[in-house]
């Protein structure tokens, strides 16, 4: 460990230091742990729903409470768990994997975390005081409009969206800037690890998709708060407009979750097959194709509305087409395994489950992509099954795999393989029990979002099986928590590269020091830790000459990662936290009165101004460094 660099780069200790922290590893861990907490909370809501649905005509939970439960479950799983956890993984891993000292725009990243945290706590606090949103995670108007949801519930939903849009957009910008400008020299785009490609594609998608929902939810808030009529058909508005704007965002949103998971798979499989991934260019193109195509599918959520049939057919074709890049991924992974030397460590087990679950979810996705078939399956439990196969099988399983895979890097401790295998087995069995029967329930006519069902419908037994499956999932998640906590406390110290992987994050210590790499590596191959450098290198293998006593990073060019210039890097600051507080007051206040937009804007302006206020000492120091490193 380099004590000088450590002193330069670490965040200040103590409570105040924690509020000012900007280290991407700290923020990434916060994102991941917070998202996991929201995952537990939203999972608990799902368990309550399964309790209610376990038998017909149950009166355990009434409709009002049930509708809040399923709305908050969906909203929290998508907006507070799935997307942020992937972004948190990106915040932690991207700088390490591209061999950077730190993330681009660290204060903004810190700010995004606080905004995300406050938005999430706000949603669950509302649920606890019986003000939880109850119009579904899709919040269709007119149901969520001023006339049919006169309480504040829909405003809380819409404003929570504002929080998560903002934090999502900020992280996307930070990730894109880090990937494009802070890569280690020599890491050309053609040598970018596939996970980084996945995070890059996702971040661009966030940039293009989020504005749609931002517009939609702002118009909803305006309809509710100041009586505009964007969605009111009686006044010339249009209820269907909401659906277009919402799904234009929310369909790509599924891929914000799925594409990083593809990246995890492409990181884990080569490591445990002991060979480079097969078909790197095909996979990169597939990731990009998936990103593009995912913007052309949104109408398949609206097949039951009376959009012209020919238009719907186009979206059927587009929805079918997105299976092709998925197929390319699967075949390339099989080809990687085919000639590999495979080991079945826990991360690999979770990755292999992906083949079964995502494949099943993808194939049911082909079914619901067809207009006529979707008219029967849409809004039934068949779709509930489909989406959980895709999201849990296609994203949460690889995510658990990723947690087992990178846990030693993040904490410096190995996780128990035995508990990992138990968790995997229970999660897989519980998942199949919980979600497989839902396919049949949907075909038997059970609609989604019902708080109860009559006994004579005959849906009781399958629902009971499904609820039992939910209990098994809960047990498996409990084992994961036990494993993580006990491993963190007592398990054996992890070596730098416990899996023998090939990417740069394994080249530094576990856990990585505040400065990530003592000297930034120079990348000379696609698999930097695997490919030996035989002939004496004409170029240096390490970056030298960066300041050690002040924060300085090397900026490289976008395509070839050639060194471009040195950049003075900002230090910790209390203002991101203060700005997030001011913004939270502004957002929450504006639910209750439009005047909060006026008065709440003042503290936001003050904190943000102070955040960017130039300080003479800082500027002079930067200038001095620029002249004489």
């Amino acid at each position: 460990m380099n004590a000088v660099l450590e002193r330069t780069w670490r965040d200040a200790p103590g409570f105040v230091g924690a509020l000012c922290a900007i280290d991407h590893k700290t923020i990434g861990k916060r994102y991941i742990v917070t998202a996991f907490a929201f995952f537990l909370a939203a999972g608990l809501l799902a368990a309550l729903m399964r309790l209610q649905l376990a038998r017909p005509e149950s009166t355990l939970i009434g409709p009002d409470r049930y509708n809040q439960l399923f709305t908050t479950h969906g909203t929290a799983m998508m907006f507070l768990f799935a997307v942020p956890v992937m972004q948190g993984m990106a915040v932690y891993l991207v700088p390490l994997m591209v061999g950077a000292r730190a993330i681009a725009f660290p204060r903004m990243t810190a700010f995004s975390y606080w905004v995300y945290l406050f938005g999430g706590v706000f949603l669950f606090a509302a649920l606890l005081v019986d003000m939880g949103p109850d119009a579904g995670w899709f919040s269709y108007v007119p149901l969520a409009g001023p006339e049919y949801t006169p309480s504040k519930r829909a405003d809380i939903w819409a404003q929570m969206i504002t929080f998560s849009e903002l934090s999502g957009l900020l992280v996307a910008v930070a990730v894109i800037a880090t990937v494009f400008k802070l890569r280690a020299p020599g890491m050309t785009l053609a040598r970018l690890p596939l996970l980084i490609w996945a995070m890059l594609v996702t971040s661009f998608m966030i940039l293009f998709a989020m504005p749609a929902v931002m517009l939609a939810s702002t118009a909803l808030i305006l309809d509710r708060l100041v009586d505009t009529h964007f969605y009111d058909p009686g006044e010339g508005g249009d209820a269907l407009l909401w659906q277009h704007l919402f799904w234009f965002f929310a369909h790509p949103e599924v891929y914000f979750v799925f594409i990083p998971a593809l990246g995890f798979m492409s990181a884990i499989i080569p490591t445990f097959a002991r060979r480079p991934i097969y078909g790197y260019p095909a996979i990169v193109l597939s990731l990009i194709a998936t990103g593009f195509l995912s913007f052309g599918l949104w109408v398949h959520h609206m097949f039951a509305t009376h959009i012209p049939e020919l238009g719907k057919s186009f979206f059927t074709a587009a929805s079918m087409m997105i299976a092709i890049p998925g197929a390319v991924h699967i075949f390339c992974w099989i080809a990687t395994l085919w000639r590999g030397r495979v080991s079945f460590a826990t991360p690999m087990l979770f990755s292999l489950a992906f083949f079964i679950l995502l494949l099943a979810g993808g194939l049911t996705g082909i079914m619901v992509a067809s207009v006529p078939l979707d008219l029967q399956l849409h809004d039934t439990y068949f779709v509930v099954a489909h989406l959980h196969y895709v999201l849990i099988g296609g994203a949460v399983f690889p995510l658990f795999g990723a947690w087992y895979y990178w846990f030693p890097k993040v904490t410096g401790r190995l996780m128990s393989e035995r508990l990992g295998q138990w968790q995997f087995a229970l999660f897989f069995i519980g998942f199949e029990l919980a979600f497989y029967p839902m396919h049949h329930l949907g075909l038997q006519g059970m609609p989604r979002r019902v708080y109860t069902y009559p006994e004579q419908m005959g849906w009781g037994p399958l629902n009971l099986v499904s609820s039992a499956g939910a209990a098994v999932i809960a047990l498996s998640v409990l084992i994961f928590i036990v494993n993580a906590v006990s491993s963190y406390r007592r398990s054996a110290a992890a070596p730098d590269n416990p899996w023998g992987a090939s990417t740069l994050e394994w080249a530094t210590a576990s856990p990585p020091p505040a400065y990530n790499f003592e000297q930034q590596p120079v990348v000379r191959a696609g698999e930097p830790l695997w490919e030996p450098i035989d002939e004496p290198p004409a170029e240096p293998t390490r970056v030298t000459g960066l300041a050690e006593r002040t924060r300085e990073v090397l900026v490289t060019t976008v395509l070839d990662a050639m060194p471009s210039h040195r950049l003075a890097y900002p230090g910790p600051s209390p203002w991101p936290f203060a700005s997030a507080i001011a913004l939270t007051v502004f957002f929450i206040g504006s639910i209750f009165t439009p005047w909060a937009v006026v008065w709440g804007g003042i503290p936001v302006a003050i904190t943000v101004t102070l955040w960017f206020w130039p300080r003479r000492a800082e500027s002079e120091a930067n200038l001095a460094i620029e002249k004489r490193p």
């Binding site: 039951a304 509305t305 099989i334 080809a335 085919w338 006529p372 069902y453 590269n497």
Partner: protein
């Protein structure tokens, strides 16, 4: 009984879709098995390794030509299958659009949480009667929030969106009773917004329609009618020929001829009717029907009155 089931089609619309379902299921299952077999085969044939195993970098030096061919072929086969399924979907879509000119037009309006059903000359609720073998055009209107009209045994669903009228055509080829249910989340009682479609032979249907077209019997018990008019029922409900003309709740002109109450929540028996009048919020929390406390003799008279509205 499978009276709300996608795979028990009783009309051409649902039958076309069911055929498409079986085609998709067969193709997708075959693909599922083939891909998983390839994964399992790959895992079985690959030698075991571990973190210390030297990574095999040979693929970087020379391309794996045979693997290339197999992977490209697999992607090509997937694409061909996808195109085939897309075409199958399009042809099914076309078949659905060719039901022929309707013999009957019914207007359905979705309300929170019941179905208003208008025929030429009369209005009923939560129960459609249709003649077997004749195409029926259902006009769908949204009144408050979005609902979705769905009778899986007969046809796919269609949304009722305020401000955007839609239509649906269906035909029942087998006489019988089919259940439908609102399929778009519409608030507190989305779960209890069902309806029945009763497909009868044409002559029975005609008899039913003729009976429905008649106003309510004039000779009914006057005391019950007075309770109905005085205790607020008539504010929302209509009884054609009985003096009540409310229009924000189901038309009760022939309520006793219907099989269920409260949009399929409970069977239409005298006991359930009494329970529904006295404690609607217990049966359907959040419904717009207010709790109406009554003296026993009032309730008796009201039940006798409503029970006579056949």
């Amino acid at each position: 009984m499978r009276f709300q089931d996608v795979l028990h089609s009783a009309g051409p619309q649902a039958r076309h879709i069911e055929a498409l379902w079986w085609l998709m299921l067969v193709v997708c299952t075959a693909v599922f098995i083939a891909v998983l077999a390839a994964v399992i085969w790959a895992l079985l044939r690959a030698p075991r390794g571990g973190p210390a195993t030297r990574p095999d970098l040979s693929s970087l030096a020379q391309p794996e030509r045979n693997t290339h061919i197999v992977v490209v072929a697999a992607v090509a086969v997937s694409t061909v299958l996808l195109v085939a399924l897309t075409l199958a979907s399009f042809f099914t879509d076309r078949a659905l659009a060719r039901l022929g000119p309707p013999a009957l037009v019914i207007e359905v309006t979705g309300h929170r949480w019941w179905w208003e059903i208008r025929y030429a000359g009369f209005t009923t609720a939560n129960e459609l009667h249709i003649p077997v073998g004749k195409p029926v055009l259902v006009k769908l209107k949204g009144d408050d929030v979005i609902h979705s009209f769905w009778v899986p045994n007969l046809s796919g669903k269609k949304d009722l969106i305020p401000g955007r009228d839609a239509t649906l055509t269906l035909r029942a080829d087998q006489a019988g009773t089919y259940r439908g249910q609102c399929a778009e989340f519409c608030g507190a009682q989305h779960a209890k917004m069902a309806f029945l479609v009763i497909a009868d032979p044409p002559e029975r249907y005609d008899a039913w329609a003729a009976a429905q077209r008649e106003p309510a019997l004039a000779s009914v018990d006057r005391r019950g009618r007075d309770v109905f008019m005085q205790r607020g029922c008539a504010t929302c409900h209509a009884v054609r020929g009985g003096g009540a003309a409310g229009d924000s709740a189901p038309d009760l002109t022939h309520v006793a001829s219907r099989q269920t109450l409260a949009a399929g929540s409970v069977p239409n028996t005298i006991g359930h009717l009494a329970g529904w009048i006295l404690d609607p919020q217990g049966i359907k929390p959040g419904a717009n029907m207010p709790t109406t406390p009554m003296r026993p003799e009032e309730l008796h008279a009201l039940l006798a009155y409503l029970g006579a509205l056949k």
